[in-house]
């Protein structure tokens, strides 16, 4: 169905190819997962399928890409609309119309389909994706998961043979991600659609994949059976790493596979306890009482009481729109607060000046790039020093501990996601706040960047700060957080140690916890630590 023949792609003026001599054939009806580190060329590979690369991105593409025998060299992306449906990372950015029904029909209108056919297909698609009750809603008012399903629907109505999805679940909470994945699996099974999907959160998709395409980062591409390829991969999800640790061959790809083989492991672990996380120091850094946030008539946060202590990492979880961001902004003092009080070292950051609030509580917003606006990393760091009124070089020194080796003359926009996050964090930390709040920092980070970020967060806590991370990423929470707060409809519905909160919830449990339930193990590292030195894994 999709055929890459000796494809090499260079960005304009680049020395090194993004894709080098790629030969790839994806047969009809397969679900193919594309993995690789950030910047390894996943989006380039996906864009090349319908010719958006190089026609929209520039650069040089050598070799030949064909879909169902039609070559991207001979036809513009428009002529691929019937063959290939493309769904981008941010569904909202790709919407052309403003209501669900119109968006579903848009592609068919462009192809000039008969009105009766369009009407029928819109109804079918609404049902297929379970969004019939949303048909007249404005696209902007939908939640992230609903938007993503509408975006998939808008390309499905033209009945494409190939569906290309770039990180369809990265911005979604676990439940919404399940909904979107279920819709995709249904397409593969019922309609025989060939699906090409790129995803950082490999653990979510791996078990459904028929084929794995791994980009090594040097332009080379390896592909084959998921089980064979993932075994030696550097981006293996927890369940595969658990399999490696326990010596299961071939490695399990799903929680179900692993759980069936884990009886022995569970037995070996019964009389052991996970190594406790570093004890929380306990001095209170931030106390919030009955904090409420309202936008007009809508309550975003409802009388929340919160106590953050030095040395603890708190994960703030909950579905999209449950009030996590509003709470963080209200705690920092820059966002609106309807009522309630916040106390940081005797001062209310909401009533202090922006400068004083910043020295009390540092916040890294969801779109961290909003904070960066200068030409070079060096200039941003200098600006950070001035803003925080600290000795020149403080910010740069912080950046070097967070992410060493970033050249000072680099443009901040050219940094990788992880480096960008480190830069913004360094700028915010330069005023030495006692409390650090991070809104969805793990979005767009690959396994390695996430690992580094976990270490950063733990180091900040160890330095006596209270850290709050709002996130959907359960694996990150399992590895980094001491305490988990779950929000729903603006209220706190659960608050407790990570193991207690996370293990009891099917949606928020990490893979290891699902495999070993009811034992309280959360990460592969914990188990490795417990088993090491006592007996070699059998």
């Amino acid at each position: 169905m999709i055929r890459f023949e000796n494809v090499t792609f260079f960005h304009t003026d680049a020395q090194r190819p993004v894709l080098a001599e790629v030969d790839l054939h994806i047969p009809e009806g397969e679900l193919c997962l594309v993995t690789g580190r950030t910047g390894a060329g996943k989006s380039t590979l996906l864009g090349a399928v319908n010719g958006l690369v190089p026609r929209f991105t520039g650069g040089t593409l050598l070799g030949r890409v064909t879909v169902d025998g039609q070559s991207t060299a001979d036809h513009p992306p428009q002529e691929f609309a019937e063959l290939v449906g493309v769904v981008g990372q941010d569904p909202l950015a790709g919407f052309v119309t403003d209501t669900v029904e119109d968006e579903l029909a848009y592609g068919m209108e462009q192809l000039g389909m008969a009105p009766e056919v369009m009407r029928k297909r819109v109804e079918e698609t609404l049902d297929l994706l379970g969004i019939a009750e949303l048909r007249r809603r404005a696209l902007r008012t939908l939640s992230g998961g609903q938007q993503q399903r509408v975006a998939i629907g808008s390309v499905l109505t033209s009945h494409p043979k190939v569906l290309v999805l770039d990180e369809p679940t990265s911005a979604l909470d676990p439940t919404a991600a399940e909904d979107v994945l279920a819709a995709i699996i249904r397409l593969v099974h019922d309609l025989g659609t060939t699906v090409l999907v790129a995803e950082h959160r490999v653990e979510r998709v791996l078990q459904y994949a028929d084929r794995l395409v791994h980009l090594d980062g040097d332009g080379r591409v390896r592909h084959g059976e998921p089980a064979a390829l993932i075994a030696g991969s550097d981006i293996a999800p927890p369940v595969v790493r658990l399999g490696r640790l326990a010596g299961w061959e071939p490695p399990p790809l799903s929680v179900r596979d692993a759980r069936r083989r884990a009886a022995g492991l569970r037995e070996r672990l019964t009389d052991r306890e996970p190594a406790p996380l570093p004890a929380v120091a306990g001095e209170s850094r931030l106390t919030a009482e009955r904090v409420s946030v309202a936008y007009g008539q809508i309550m975003a946060v409802r009388a929340v009481d919160l106590d953050l202590r030095a040395g603890e990492v708190v994960a703030l979880m909950g579905r999209n729109g449950s009030g996590k961001s509003s709470l963080l902004w209200a705690l920092q003092g820059s966002g609106p607060r309807r009522s309630g009080s916040v106390d940081v070292a005797g001062t209310d950051p909401g009533k202090a000046s922006a400068k004083a609030a910043r020295a009390l509580v540092g916040l890294v917003p969801q779109t961290a790039a909003d904070l960066i606006y200068l030409d070079t990393v060096e200039a941003e760091c200098r600006q950070g020093d001035t803003e925080s009124a600290v000795a020149p070089g403080t910010c740069r020194a912080l950046l070097d501990t967070l992410a060493p080796g970033i050249p000072g003359d680099r443009h901040p926009r050219d940094l990788s996601e992880g480096q960008k996050l480190a830069l913004v964090l360094a700028v915010q930390l330069s005023s030495a706040p006692g409390v650090v709040l991070l809104d969805e920092p793990t979005r767009g980070l690959d396994y390695h960047a996430k690992q580094r970020f976990t270490e950063t967060v733990r180091a900040q806590a160890a330095a006596g700060r209270a850290v709050v991370v709002a996130t959907h990423d359960v694996e990150f929470v399992a590895g980094a957080a001491d305490r988990v707060i779950v929000m729903a409809e603006g209220e706190i519905v659960a608050d407790g140690p990570t193991a207690e909160v996370v293990v009891s919830s099917p949606a928020f449990a990490p893979q290891v916890a699902k495999v070993l339930a009811p034992l309280p193990w959360l990460t592969v590292e914990q188990i490795a630590g417990a088993l090491s030195g006592q007996e070699a894994p059998a």
Partner: protein
């Protein structure tokens, strides 16, 4: 009998073009008179039809805004007449202290005696403009402005898409600005003026640029612009025909509405414009390989709505020919405005859609059947 299937009309959305024709008819009627009784009748007709036939969408609720605007226009006209236009008329209501102006401003008077004629003249004038504004507001409340864009002929499709995209991008830009400004506060930059502007502009523009690239890519992969194979010459020809034609239509409409334009600028101009635009649409339509999802069709309901509005306009136009006396009530000598039978009938024709147009299809909740609509 075939009427049995047509009556009562099922709830549905009426073609926006029908409502626009109806309201333009009423606006034309309003432009032909300063008689306050006739104008108030037109206002009442608009208001009644809007109340009976509007949906529950946000644009439908904006009708109030047009009423406020109309009130503002009338007030401003009257106030201006009191401030500047003093001295015309014999029946003095009251006298304000006059502010003496220097020699070079001779001919302008500030305050002074306020006459009834002067105030009424401002009121009549303002009311005429206000009524026309309310007519346009009624069309906006009754027809989804975006569906109107969808109803554009195929040759204008690109323009329609551009407008829709622009309409969605504007709120997104505002959102980005708010988001970035909030984020700037987090850094407490404390910059003022140009430097602070730069801190906001760069992230916002970058965001906008990224979004438009993503949108362009999404539109291309949805198949937008598949007509690219049509020769460039044909595209240019259709484009210029359509635009020239529409300009002609505008000029012609203006001529028809304004009594003082030379005769060749009226009907002939309108017809010529229509002919040129139609040619453009036909040539353009031939190359369009695109279809419409659930298009609004012209059915009897639409024709009734459009016809009633146009009839109002046409009958009023007829009145200016046969019996223009009462359309512009005299201010000097001051007389009580009177209403002739023909213009009154003309306006009453405009209220017919309140019963004859299909009721709106409400989007939220199911409308409860009210007692008066249950047959006795």
């Amino acid at each position: 009998m075939s009427l049995a299937g047509l009556w009562p009309p099922l709830p549905r959305t009426v073609h926006p073009g029908a409502w626009w024709l109806w309201s333009l008819g009423l606006a034309t009627a309003a432009s032909r008179t300063t008689n306050p009784i006739l104008l108030v009748m037109i206002l009442t007709v608009c208001g009644y039809v809007v109340v009976r036939r509007r949906g529950d969408a946000p644009w439908a609720l904006a009708f109030r805004m047009y009423l406020y605007l109309a009130g503002f226009i009338v007030t401003m006209r009257v106030v201006f007449r009191i401030v500047f236009g003093g001295g015309q008329g014999d029946i003095i209501l009251f006298t304000l202290p006059e502010i003496p102006l220097p020699e070079w401003a001779a001919g302008i008077r500030l305050f002074g005696a306020v006459a009834v004629e002067q105030v009424l003249g401002g009121f009549y004038d303002g009311l005429r403009l206000a009524t026309m504004v309310v007519c346009v507001g009624a069309a906006n409340a009754l027809a989804n402005p975006k569906r109107m864009l969808k109803a554009l002929p195929g040759a204008l499709y690109e323009i329609g898409t551009a407008v829709v995209v622009a309409l969605t991008v504007a709120p997104q830009l505002v959102e980005s600005v708010i988001r970035v400004r909030r984020a700037r506060r987090l850094r407490a930059g404390g910059q003022k003026g140009l430097r602070a502007l730069r801190g906001i502009l760069i992230p916002v523009l970058e965001d906008a640029l990224n979004r438009s690239l993503a949108l362009a890519a999404a539109m291309a992969s949805h198949g937008y612009g598949r007509t690219g194979r049509v020769p460039r010459g044909t595209r240019l020809l259709t484009g210029s025909l359509v635009v020239t034609g529409l300009l002609g239509v505008c000029a012609g409409l203006y001529g028809v509405m304004d009594a003082s334009t030379p005769p060749y600028m009226r009907a002939p101009m309108l017809l010529a414009g229509l002919a040129v635009a139609t040619t453009g649409f036909v040539i353009g339509g031939k190359r369009v390989r695109r279809s419409r999802y659930r298009p609004d069709r012209w059915r009897p309901g639409e024709f009734t709505v459009a016809a009633s509005g146009l009839a109002t306009g046409a009958l009023m136009y007829l009145t200016t020919r046969v019996d223009p006396a009462n359309l512009y009530p005299s201010l000097n000598p001051l007389t009580w405005p009177e209403v002739g039978l023909l213009p009154a009938a003309a306006i009453l024709v405009g209220v017919l859609p309140a019963w004859l147009a299909p009721p709106p299809d409400l989007t939220q909740g199911i409308a409860e059947p009210t007692a008066r609509e249950v047959p006795a």
